[in-house]
């Protein structure tokens, strides 16, 4: 997988031999570029329309298409202040508290599975024991168990605890009316993220040089020291890729937050989904709200795209 990303094949055109160049002429480059640029523009227009609308005054946004903005530009920031702080969504704090919720869900929701999966991946890759292979395949297979299969029993487990007969083995995780209500969402996200995380990190870790591990053992390091001092630093690129991936996944999630959350823990997405019904009357507010919800993913994505792509490729390209 590192071979794929380490070599940004931008130079592919120039440095190759003549026959390949001839092949490359089968589409002449201007045509190819033209088609790709047209598709790229088509892919961007919907988002661009949303972006433009979020800066238009309410009356304009409701009475005319966003494309007329350029004939008669008038820009306002009031949609954003209204949505963030004002009663734009019939809630005292606007969207700001939902924005906070999204962050409070997404940061632990990315860190916890990351830590647990890194440990498990190391054990499966470098602590030899009977059945390791089978556990690995079982975890790989769990990747595709739909979250939907777990929702009802897990929700009941959280709300009533675990009983054997009449004996309460594990307590309920209610935490009602406190900020610890977020814990249920973190736990759910951690559980659902583990299969993919372990799979990706295991793939990376198993490719680390064997000599290095053996040298560490020879020096008398136990597995915990090897893990902390050798594997963690070396696996950092893979860990970073998955961290970004998981953060975006949790930030963008709707189903888990709806199922395991309460009205106090609603993230932006859940709030926006509820508000879509009022679409007709407040286009300018909904577009501003949607853009706020996309802001952090877009920043993360644009600044860390390389890592994101690397994580994606690790999961799907052979190698």
């Amino acid at each position: 997988m590192s071979a794929v990303t380490a070599d940004p094949v931008t130079a592919a055109g120039e440095n190759r031999e003549p026959p390949v160049k001839a092949v490359r002429k089968m589409f002449s480059t201007p045509w190819v570029s033209g088609i790709v640029v047209v598709i790229a523009i088509m892919w961007t227009i919907p988002t661009f329309g949303l972006f433009v609308t979020s800066f238009r005054p309410a009356a304009d946004a409701i009475n005319s298409g966003w494309w007329t903005f350029f004939q008669n530009p008038s820009v306002t920031l009031s949609n954003y202040s209204n949505v963030l702080l004002g009663g734009g969504y019939n809630t005292a704090g606007g969207l700001s508290s939902y924005f906070v919720n999204s962050l409070v869900i997404a940061i632990p929701g990315a860190l916890f599975p990351l830590a647990i999966a890194t440990m498990a991946a190391y054990a499966l890759a470098w602590v030899p024991f009977k059945g390791a292979d089978w556990i690995f395949f079982a975890i790989f297979a769990l990747q595709v168990v739909p979250i939907q299969m777990a929702l009802i029993p897990l929700l009941r487990l959280f709300s009533t605890g675990f009983h054997i007969g009449n004996i309460q083995v594990a307590p309920a995780l209610l935490f009602s009316q406190s900020s610890w209500e977020f814990a249920r969402i973190w736990i759910a996200h951690t559980m659902f993220a583990l299969p993919l995380a372990i799979f990706l990190l295991h793939n990376f870790m198993s490719q680390l040089p064997r000599d290095l591990m053996e040298a560490a053992t020879m020096d008398g390091a136990n597995h915990f020291t090897t893990f902390r001092k050798i594997v963690l630093p070396l696996a950092l690129p893979a860990i970073a890729s998955f961290a970004i991936f998981q953060f975006l996944w949790v930030w963008n999630d709707l189903l888990v937050a709806l199922t395991f959350g309460t009205s106090n823990t609603q993230p932006l997405n859940a709030r926006l989904e509820q508000q879509v019904g009022n679409f007709g009357s407040h286009v300018e507010l909904l577009t501003a709200g949607a853009f706020i919800s996309m802001l952090i993913p877009l920043i993360v994505f644009l600044s860390l795209q390389r890592y994101f792509v690397r994580g994606l490729l690790a999961g799907s390209v052979k190698g």
Binding site: E17, P19, V20, F27, T29, V32, S33, V37, A40, W43, P46, G49, S64, G65, W67, N82, L85, G86, G87, A92, G94, S97, V100, A123, I135, F137, I139, F140, A141, L142, P146, Q148, M149, A150, L151, I152, P153, W186, T190, L194, N222, H223, F224, L248, L254, L255, L258, N269, E273, V276, A290, S293, M294, P297, Q305, F308, V309, L312, S316, V317
Partner: protein, 335 residues
């Protein structure tokens, strides 16, 4: 602009929440560190089992409690009534396969699974081939890939706006791009897109294709670049050109990746909930299995129906899992 809240109130709301998150993170990593340090002192025969238990244990327990047991229980619940008290045999499945509404849901799901992955992958492959020939690819590539970063809810809002419809009468301006474009093209009275059965399902699929094409493009583009130049060269010396070169050399060499992309998108499509929930809430004959499962369980309060639908969903995924596991084992054997 009059605002009903100021930053102080926002902080008052935010601080305890961040406090809880920070506490949880510190406690979590603190415990890990302590366990690691303590376990370092262990000696003798206990070391290996202890190491495995500490490193693998948390993941193992969470997966058993969070996925394995719930999945088994869901299968069990699908044979019980709405409150999970009385055994009802296969009544829930009978309902799922005979009720006309659910019939529609199953057909929609099938159409989603077939159309979306194929179109997204084909488009992604086309773009990957074109981009392979471009000198400056990165901006166009990023723009097409960008929707991957946007949530399905966000994407749905973007497209809901594109699909907004108003009756085309004098004095009324369209604000939805699709309506305006077809009016410009000469379609006098376009339908209300979201209510336009059965085509509304396809309009929802456009959103998924819009999101997944970038994924397919990036992954396939990496695979195409991995095709060795000398293979292409040898083939072209043998007289293969243009499309036949693609069909005979490039396509077979990226076939594995194409299948991985197809199955990945298929699995994503099967689980798709957000798009349907945001766009229509499953109304106007657009519901799919995962959305219907949520509605039956948490809106209608019928755990039996919900569990049966989830189990059907799972059954659809199983062939894909088996296929992927077989592929993975082959791949590992080749190493």
């Amino acid at each position: 602009m009059r605002t009903s809240t100021d930053w102080n109130t926002v902080l008052q709301d935010a601080l305890p929440k961040f406090g809880v998150a920070a506490t949880a993170i510190i406690v979590f990593f603190g415990i890990l560190l302590l366990v690691f340090l303590a376990a370092g002192y262990a000696t003798g025969k206990i070391v290996r089992p202890l190491t495995i238990a500490i490193l693998l244990g948390p993941a193992f327990v969470l997966l058993i409690i969070g996925l394995v047991i719930p999945a088994i229980r869901t299968v069990g619940l699908s044979f019980f009534d709405s409150n999970s008290i009385n055994f009802v045999g296969t009544a829930n499945y009978k309902y799922a396969f005979t009720d006309p509404d659910i019939h529609r849901v199953l057909i929609n799901t099938a159409v989603w699974i077939i159309v979306t992955p194929i179109l997204a992958t084909a488009l992604g492959l086309f773009l990957a081939l074109l981009i392979d020939k471009m000198k400056h690819e990165s901006i166009a590539k990023s723009l097409i890939f960008l929707p991957m970063a946007i949530s399905f809810v966000g994407a749905s809002i973007i497209w809901k706006f594109v699909y907004t419809w108003r009756e085309n009468v004098p004095g009324v301006n369209q604000i939805g791009l699709l309506s305006q474009v077809v009016i410009w093209l000469g379609w006098k009275n376009p339908p209300n897109w979201i209510l336009w059965e059965p085509w509304n399902t396809f309009l929802l699929m456009v959103i998924m294709i819009w999101v997944q094409t970038g994924f397919a493009m990036v992954v396939l583009s990496a695979a195409i670049k991995n095709v060795p130049g000398d293979v292409l060269e040898a083939a072209s010396l043998d007289g293969a050109t243009g499309f036949s070169l693609f069909r005979k050399i490039t396509l077979p060499m990226v076939r594995g990746t194409v299948i991985v992309v197809l199955t990945t998108i298929m699995i994503a499509v099967l689980k798709i909930f957000d798009i349907v929930a945001t766009m229509t809430g499953g109304n106007y004959s657009t519901s799919v299995l995962s959305n219907e499962m949520y509605t039956q369980t948490f809106v209608q309060g019928d755990a039996g129906h919900g569990a049966a639908l989830a189990t059907i969903l799972f059954a659809c995924v199983i062939p894909l899992v088996v296929y992927n596991v077989v592929q993975l084992r082959k791949e590992r054997a080749n190493r």
